[in-house]
Amino acid sequence: MPNLLQYRAWQGTFHSEWWSVWPIARVALGTLVSRWLFRIVGVFSLKLFLMFFFGAYLLAWFETQASAPQLGNFADAGRMIRGIRRAMQILNGSQDTFQYFFAYQGAIVVVMLSLVGSLVVGNDFTHKSLVFYLAKPINRWQYLAGKGLAVFVVVQIMTTLPALVLFAQHAFDDWDYLLNIHYFTDTVDGKGPAGILLLFAILGYGTLLSVFLSIILVATASWARRTIPLIMVWLSLFFFMRILANLLVDGLRYDPRWRLIDLWNNLTMLGQGMLGFASDDIQPKFRPELWEASLVLFGVSALCLIYLNLRTRGVEIVR
């Protein structure tokens, strides 16, 4: 019987095991991008971004038209333009702009993740292709990190990245927006921070959304596995819970802490906090404290990670 003396080991240096996280994420991203569903939802996301992007120019045009002398002959033209202008204030690059942008894009992201989550994670459990990953020199946390990174990148591309483009658009329009953190408070009806503070707020909000949605998607997709059950789970988490929380707090006048069951509300409240909203301006009016919302999100994330630990440990069990 031959012995191992002829074994020829590779003489190069292996990358760290954590380096494998990126190839895992790339495979997941490749799978996502190749699906028409992802592209369709991506188009909606792009349309929304373009509305905000070109809406800013529309606002600037209205600003010029509001004071245009040729409109003086129209009796209500000035009032109409001022009304439109007020309505379009959310496009002025302030905290409101980004709050609305993250809220709308976030909703699209949630829809998209619920539709394609089973592709990214669920299939590995359904078809047991997780075996291929775990047979390589990586552990289950590196696998989970890879999958989470793929979701993180998708959420970042759909929320933080376009938000940064919007920020840059306003900065190019007026450098004072970038350099002066009191840019809005110095104006007549403006509020909230600008400049570097707003930049960090955008990054923080985007990261919060990305990290939380990554963890919860990987956990729920590894549990529900298939598309329809996953959609049901996400509908429950982000839609029915929201309705229930509103019903309890606004309808039945229960303690505002019942809103904590609405995870999306917790995320948007924290986001508003990051964007520098004053405590009284944070919506909804009857709401729990920000630290309570943080605690719930942290707790849910921890539970998801504990579940994932158990789920990937028991994945090989014959059913």
Binding site: L4, A9, W10, S34, L134, K136, E316
Partner: protein, 340 residues
């Protein structure tokens, strides 16, 4: 007789094998000393809730090919998954090249080809193998080089750009084999590697396994294709009810089956006299005779054959035909597992 079908492919495959294993300088084995088993199961038990998957299994494998056979649910897949570091045993120890099988260090020595063949269907075979190479920790260039070499090795280089969804069962097997081979592992765990492969592909795969064995690799092959397994190796581990029922060469295992005498068909120029002699031996428990053959059932085959040799020489009997008719893997497995 020269095999025309084989020549071109075999040459190309051997070149690929040479390339795959000679692209790096020959180095002394670093993983484990020759005396150390490549795969060691030491009193390993594994439960699935109340069901026991593996029961006190002790097994040592060294370089060479070992077949793993047993009925469905006998624990073969559990044993392979434990060996591949996919899960930890509840009791006992599983070591690969001297380190626990579930560690990353051990997995660098393991190539695992699972039975399942569902991948990312929209990916091409080449991309899949390359992604697996990156997971091993190779640089992009090295991963690319190894991907090409292993695809050549399994005969898929020209067909690897098609999406996996369009692959036949045999092509999927080859891609799975490629991803298992690409990091040049010492231990190859192959779960039904011949299933679904056409006869030519089967022969190529068997040749490849033999070549890998000659190069000092340890192969543990689980298969229901007993005839093919028999062509590949006579060293088998038989599993039943979560235990290793027997390990060794078929002859060794067969010899241990005292309750199932070996059946031997003999033809000689003096059948009648030979039958009389054989009936006097303690090891012979039965004898049938027809026009041409004696069908002898004998315990302790080693002693029987030794005695038979001496006898035919002494009595000048010419043996015209001698064959054992129930020493195949199928027969041994049947005796061990079903009491037939």
């Amino acid at each position: 007789m020269p095999d025309l079908l084989e020549s071109a492919d075999a040459g190309r495959r051997n070149r690929a094998l040479e390339t795959a294993y000679s692209a790096v300088p020959l180095a002394p084995k670093q993983a484990a000393p020759a005396s150390e088993p490549v795969l060691l199961f030491h009193h390993v038990s594994k439960w699935y809730g109340p069901v026991i998957g593996l029961n006190q299994v002790t097994l040592e494998l060294r370089p060479g090919i070992t077949g793993l056979v047993g009925h469905n649910g006998s624990g073969k897949s559990t044993l392979l998954r434990l060996a591949a570091g996919q899960m930890k045993p509840d009791l006992g120890r599983v070591d690969v090249a001297g380190v626990p099988a579930w560690t990353s260090e051990a997995k660098r020595h393991i190539g695992y080809c699972p039975e399942l063949d569902t991948f990312y269907e929209e990916m091409s075979g080449r991309r899949f193998v390359q992604a697996m190479a990156r997971l091993v920790g190779y640089t992009r260039a090295e991963a690319h080089r190894r991907t090409e070499n292993t695809l050549e090795l399994v005969g898929m280089r020209d067909r690897a750009d098609r999406p996996l969804a369009g692959y036949s069962k045999g092509m999927r097997q080859r891609i799975k084999l490629a991803q298992a081979l690409l990091h040049d592992p010492e231990l190859l765990l192959l779960d039904e590697p011949l299933s679904g492969i056409d006869p030519i592909g089967r022969r190529e795969s068997i040749e490849l396994f033999r070549e890998l064995s000659r190069r000092g690799k340890c192969l543990l092959i689980s298969s229901h294709e007993l005839d093919e397994l028999e062509k590949l190796t006579d060293h088998i581990a038989i599993m039943a009810s979560g235990r290793i029922a027997a390990v060794g060469t078929l002859t060794q295992i067969r010899e241990l089956l005292d309750d199932h005498p070996l059946t031997i068909r003999i033809a000689s120029d003096q059948n009648r006299m030979l039958a009389c002699i054989l009936l006097e031996w303690d090891d012979v428990v039965g004898l049938d005779r027809d026009d041409r053959f004696l069908k002898v059932r004998a315990r302790n085959p080693r002693r029987f054959f030794q005695q038979l040799g001496e006898t035919v020489l002494d009595r000048m009997i010419e043996i015209q035909h001698l064959e054992t008719i129930d020493e195949s893997t199928q027969d041994v497995l049947g005796y061990l597992l079903s009491g037939k």
